[in-house]
Symmetry: C2
Subunit: 281 residues, 2 copies
């Protein structure tokens, strides 16, 4: 396994792979890998010849006052994990390599990035789409994989790939959870021990939504109110948003008549966590 930090070197390597008709698979990450990331690697590994994992904590997707500086990093541990999973290349550029000055160019996906996490974190998705486009131009993959944990990110990126004609197949992977239901996230590390239990309320509220849906409830407002009530019972929890949207258009729905996504963001103490569930008709 090699670790590449230089953009031109990564591009030249990708060109050589493509000349040899090798299929390049790509897993973009911000590092501090957990079993959620590893599941992405395991899914894409058999579908490609050369597997590239990028590890880059992307400054442009963090807002002012967010956790860019405290975001956990551990390259040694990440490379050991990648090595074990049969990764061929870790692409690990510096922020200066990725954002030399002057940097003026940004990609925006309208509509899809204006709601939910986009409303709570202005500029977040602009940072995500811009860095992923850059990584696509550097790694030149045939396929790339993203987790459904960040479902809105997945949809925004699929829209970008589609609209900008990136010749890349996008795979998605299901959410990986702890045994008790907590969705894996690098940010779980921030939770203090007493908050770890409280954080379960995200999963429990999604299960509540699923149960009510299974029982025949179709009123999105009623489902959201029940979720809200459950979450408000946890003193350390503060709701950022709860949304029920159409899975295709991402528009909020009043009644669940088609496949829908229930998504939420909740602060547990100082830590903002997200989770979601798809309710299939």
């Amino acid at each position: 396994m090699k670790i590449v930090t230089d953009i031109q070197q990564m591009q030249n390597y990708a060109d050589r792979c493509r000349e040899e008709k090798k299929v390049i698979g790509f897993v973009p990450t911000m590092g501090y890998l957990h079993p959620g990331h590893l599941s992405l690697i395991k899914i894409i590994r058999p579908q490609c010849d050369i597997l590239v994992v990028s590890i880059f904590v992307n400054p442009t997707q963090f807002g002012p006052g967010e956790d860019l500086n405290t975001y956990p990093r551990d390259l040694k541990r990440d490379s050991d994990l990648c090595q074990k999973e049969g990764v061929d290349v870790i692409f690990h550029p510096s922020a200066q390599e990725m954002y030399p000055k002057p940097f003026y160019t940004f990609i925006t996906v309208e509509k899809l990035s204006e709601i939910m996490c986009g409303r709570s974190r202005p500029g977040h998705f602009r940072g995500v789409t811009t860095v992923v486009a850059k990584l696509f131009n550097i790694v030149k993959p045939h396929l790339a994989i993203f987790g459904e944990k960040d479902f809105q990110q997945l949809q925004v990126l699929k829209q970008m790939v589609n609209n900008l004609n990136y010749d890349i197949k996008i795979l998605n992977a299901p959410i990986v959870r702890e045994d008790d239901g907590l969705a894996l996230s690098s940010r779980n590390k921030y939770l203090k021990s007493h908050e770890r239990m409280d954080a379960l309320v995200l999963y429990r509220s999604l299960q509540l939504a699923k149960d009510r849906f299974t029982q025949g409830e179709r009123n999105a407002g009623d489902i959201k109110r029940e979720m809200e009530k459950l979450i408000k019972g946890i003193p350390s929890a503060k709701i950022d948003y709860i949304e029920i949207v159409n899975l295709e258009t991402f528009e909020p729905v009043d009644f669940l008549s088609n496949d829908s996504l229930v998504a939420l963001a909740v602060y547990i103490g100082q830590t903002r966590l997200i989770d979601n569930i798809v309710l299939k008709k």
Copy 2:
């Protein structure tokens, strides 16, 4: 020479060329080719194995009330010209092929696209950068060429290529002029016969700037005022802008201490024309 209208077919063709280690050169155009376009083709032809010319009148770079519908088109004539110049592929997609609904993704280059033509034509450069990024992802060229006639467009695109890490070398080609100095443009076709003479005032005002610079004048305001005075002597002419900017940063200058660009846009009757000259220190 082949004409390709399908995006996936163009991408597959580009992949095959790259597997065969062939260098792909690219000339993006809106068609209705004139000797200015042909000069781009002649410059890039010896530097590549496969030469692709795109012909696509891009709707997203026209503002409301602009000339999208009347913009001249003549594919038969264009293909004959391309054939003669040794072009390998014309990429000629429909607007529907390029902009299927929903289309939400746009690329913006801040600062550089906010002045001059960007101020007069809001959204114009966003349309240009977005379509060129799409075309880059479709044609997958190693090098591409743009004319200095649209100097601001050239700088905006170079910034985009740089910032988004497109692995593409950008060439620029000097302005091609009629014998009397008028810069070639597909829009010259709009000029009524009596306007054709008046249109020379753009070139003449740039020559005036150059002469004053050669004589030692360094005050940008004074040079602009002299140009303005000359242009205002032509009744059919209406100035959109006259700007003198630093060639690197594209910031307006008060004094010409480094290499500078003098650029202007002038309406001759209903027709908006642009032109520019570089003044080397």
